[in-house]
């Protein structure tokens, strides 16, 4: 299977719901009868996927938030993974 391209303005696939779970102390993706528990960076990135912001916007905003200029590679890798999992469309 080929890796799907990252959507230009990624949004959470409507089959999933992203939310913060205090008891899990993490973001989770909820879907029919299931849940993916996200690590901190995955949660931060997916929380930016609002269907409006471009990849550049997301990189910029997270780099500013975490005051780190070297995040682009990690963010793009994760978005490609999230796209392959159909978490984002």
């Amino acid at each position: 299977m080929t890796t799907p391209a990252i959507p230009a303005t990624p949004a959470i696939n409507r089959v999933f719901r992203l939310q913060w779970e205090p008891v899990q102390d993490s973001h989770v993706l909820l879907y029919p009868e299931g849940m993916v528990k996200l690590n901190a960076s995955a949660g931060e990135i997916l929380a930016c996927c609002d269907g409006v912001r471009s990849i550049d916007d997301i990189v910029q905003s997270l780099q500013a938030k975490f005051q780190n200029d070297g995040l682009r590679g990690d963010i793009e890798d994760f978005l490609a993974y999230a796209s392959a999992q159909r978490w984002i469309v």
Partner: protein, 372 residues
């Protein structure tokens, strides 16, 4: 160590159901369960469960649409942050209700079919519901819900598994649960009639694998080989008192769907105790937590952490002791009982006993009258 938070709350709103499926896992004595929790009591259960950390919420039964307060419960569930799943036969899911449930924040609908053909669907559920289910499936898509199609499998419809997959694709289901019958409740009563042959199971496995290759991620096919045909048991509830918290229509708190039928659990009721006490401290939820309760051959088995000794209900039904090794396991001294049932399913002279449908009249006739 305190137990982890419950992850999955199953709210069995009612045992009332317009269908009469022969493979229903509901208790045989369901008709005697009358005092359903009120709307306010259910809302209180939802709040307490969410505070404990429950995330996934299933509205089930019986047919949950028999309750006219379903929309109110869904709305509260959404406010609390649950992901709510409606597990339904589709009967009663009118366009008005499906729109109201969407408005209330329902996340997903699981729609059951009994087969890909009208004849078998209507025979097995003892109703004329096939065309209505097709209509409901289209409404679910029209209102943009993710749809899980569920079809319980057994000797009558296993040969149709390819057709059932085609139907799910045609209706646009995102997931298809090909749920091999689990032999509890009414299904156990009809086990000899429902049990497939080994050849049927293997052929269905092959067909599912073929379709998985063809359709990729378009529709996720869930198919688990029935445990009678495996040589290791399934991990009961992914750990007793670890993940699952069921609440029955009358408020009984259940560590597994069929805990009502296990002896000696002294099941707690949400009307009498806070859910946190029930989950953490009750005898029922602690009865098979961890592995201290295990007997041989489980106790010294290197695989015990993987399958947790199997299913407690199956141990009770087949070995007469809920703490025994699940007889499905090849290491169980009772495995011959399972092999005998499978062999019988493959033999020519099968049971002449007719199928017993899940009806109120049959429920009453099966249970000796008790005085409260």
């Amino acid at each position: 160590m305190p137990p982890p938070p419950p992850y999955w709350l199953l709210a069995e709103l009612t045992y009332r159901c317009p269908l009469h499926c022969a493979f229903c896992y509901n208790p045989l004595q369901y008709d005697a369960v009358r005092q359903e929790l009120t709307t306010a009591e259910w809302i209180d259960v939802l709040r307490q469960a969410r505070a404990l950390g429950a995330v996934q919420l299933g509205f089930s039964g019986g047919e949950p649409l028999m309750r006219d307060d379903l929309e109110d419960l869904v709305a509260e569930a959404r406010r609390l942050g649950f992901y709510s799943n409606l597990i339904t036969s589709g009967v009663g899911l009118t366009e008005t209700r499906i729109a109201a449930l969407k408005q209330a924040g329902l996340d997903h609908i699981q729609l059951s079919f009994q087969d890909s053909t009208r004849e078998l669907n209507d025979f097995l559920s003892s109703t004329k519901t096939f065309d209505l289910k097709l209509k409901v499936a289209r409404l679910i898509k029209q209102y943009d819900y993710p749809m899980v199609m569920n079809c319980v499998l057994h000797r009558y419809n296993l040969p149709h598994v390819g057709k059932i997959i085609e139907m799910a694709l045609e209706l646009g289901a995102e997931y298809l649960e090909l749920a091999n019958t689990q032999y509890y409740g009414w299904a156990m009563k009809n086990r000899d009639q429902l049990m497939p042959t080994l050849a049927q199971v293997r052929e269905a496995e092959r067909v599912v694998a073929h379709w998985r290759e063809r359709i990729g991620e378009r529709c996720k096919l869930l198919f688990v080989v029935p445990d009678y045909f495996e040589d290791r048991p399934k991990a009961c509830m992914n750990g007793w008192g670890q993940v699952f918290l069921g609440v029955a229509p009358d408020g009984l708190a259940l560590p597994c769907h069929n805990a009502r039928d296990l002896p000696g659990l002294d099941l707690p009721n949400v009307r009498e105790q806070p859910l946190s006490v029930i989950w953490r401290d009750s005898r029922a939820f602690n009865a098979y937590r961890g592995d201290d309760w295990m007997q041989e051959p489980c106790r010294s088995c290197p695989e015990k952490a993987r399958d947790l000794g199997g299913c407690r209900c199956q141990a009770f039904m087949l070995a007469g002791d809920a703490a025994a090794t699940d007889p499905v396991c090849a290491k169980s001294p009772r495995r011959q009982e399972v092999d005998r049932v499978i062999a019988f399913a493959g033999s020519a002279g099968r049971s002449e006993q007719p199928i017993l449908f899940r009806t109120a009249a049959n429920s009453r006739s099966l249970i000796p009258k008790t005085v409260d």
